[in-house]
Symmetry: C2
Subunit: 264 residues, 2 copies
């Protein structure tokens, strides 16, 4: 989220002023209901009775005031045809775009579970703050298009938050499949990723376009380069790891409360 070229002096000034005032509105984007509901309860949020988003979309907004923060948890919702959580990059990018348009957040947090690579030091239950985010399933073997496909982005820098909380730091790689093909694996290795999810890079793309700072908190449910099948391990650990995730998100929100972006 480095400043873009071509900004006017006034825009730079406004941006630096925004960085100095306390953070007020945050949007927490969560793909799965299992991940979202404990946090909704923790922050005592309630579901928006008025439609925040256009008719037809499945996205659910929970909001409320927690300490000095206006907190919005946006869950991607259940697909209207299949009834399962609307996971993946298309859904996540749309929610991020719509949330920024409607809620104008100071900060976006993408929280969720992820696969981890033990070869890069990830263990079940670890909670990571992503430093870099990229795609691993957008192979466009034409010069420059290849880099666009990877779409490398950096998360908003939060050195003080990292010093305070015991979160691991790692690179996140995103793709629309829960499994990992050999081609995905090669791209994940090229991305130097420690964790793998299904939404992060899409959210990072949208917040970069619209210049909203974002951080990515990911808890490891399964070891991708381990012995157990991803689906089995994911299901086995989802509940316990979600508790770790929710604790970490609460700590992050408590740390954010009362601080400006430049103090994170």
């Amino acid at each position: 989220m480095a400043p873009h070229d071509g900004k006017s002096v006034m825009e730079e000034f406004m941006a630096s002023e925004t960085e100095k005032r306390p953070i007020s509105t945050i949007v927490i984007i969560i793909a799965m209901q299992t991940e979202a509901l404990p946090l909704v309860n923790k922050f005592q949020l309630s579901e928006d009775p008025n439609p925040t988003f256009p008719k037809g979309v499945p996205w659910v907004r929970y909001h409320g005031i927690y300490k000095d923060l206006n907190i919005n948890i946006i869950w991607l919702g259940n697909d209207s045809v299949f009834g399962v959580n609307s996971v993946g990059t298309v859904s996540a990018s749309l929610v991020t775009y719509a949330s920024i348009q409607v809620l104008k957040p100071d900060l976006i947090i993408n929280a969720g579970t992820a696969g981890g690579f033990k070869a890069k030091g990830a263990c079940i239950g670890d909670v990571f703050l992503a430093s870099d985010i990229a795609f691993h399933d957008r192979r466009i073997p034409i010069p420059v298009f290849d880099l666009y496909g990877v779409g490398l982005q950096q998360a908003f820098s939060t050195p003080n938050l990292l010093k305070e909380l015991s979160l691991k730091v790692g690179k996140l790689s995103t793709g629309d499949s829960l499994d990992m093909s050999p081609e995905d694996e090669a791209s994940i290795i090229a991305n130097d990723a420690t964790i793998k999810d299904m939404e992060g890079a899409a959210i990072a793309y949208v917040v970069d376009l619209l210049e909203v700072p974002a951080i990515f908190i990911k808890a490891v449910t399964d070891i991708v380069d381990g012995d157990k099948p991803t689906v089995v391990e994911f299901r086995q650990n989802l509940a316990a790891v979600t508790a770790e995730l929710d604790q970490a998100v609460t700590q992050v929100v408590d740390f954010i409360n009362g601080k400006s972006l430049s103090e994170l």
Copy 2:
């Protein structure tokens, strides 16, 4: 685009009235500038001097009146970091969502080039109208999630248009890679697809959510199951095939002019 359950009688009535009045506003979503500009010239459209979309997004709107139609061509634009066309599902889904919110089109046309499968009867330069659209790179091997990942949608039915124009009909499969991995190939075969692109299914997902009819016109630049590498063939044929595509889109627009949705 079948009617969703839970519609009120009034909503059904309004929808049927919309189907009866002449189509007024159309949005044509095009990924690549090479594909868009000949049509912009053909319909004598001009670039919108006022920003249609939020600051920061690369999407470019060309609009104007052609015969009795208010035509908008939305090109996905150049990525601000890499300078290449913003191809792919994330970009396409965002543009579709934003265009529907701002322009409230009666009909969306997604026009573009595609790879074709000779085993399914596709030849270079063929122009297809897609009957069904699905994803081939969203593998989620959990029951029901697997179907959500495939995300099968049907295009708006246009029997009269098909009778009038000499377009082929085939199923379209979408993924974010220009190449095709063995896993992609298996999914494309399962999707029974004749053509392969990088945007269609994402656009189909959004128009289904927001209940806007959409059709998909795809011209074949390269034979995926042929001898030549996709990238070489794609580049070799892009200009010539774009001319075929533009001719077909013009024929479709001329056919649409003065007709209602139910007459297509």
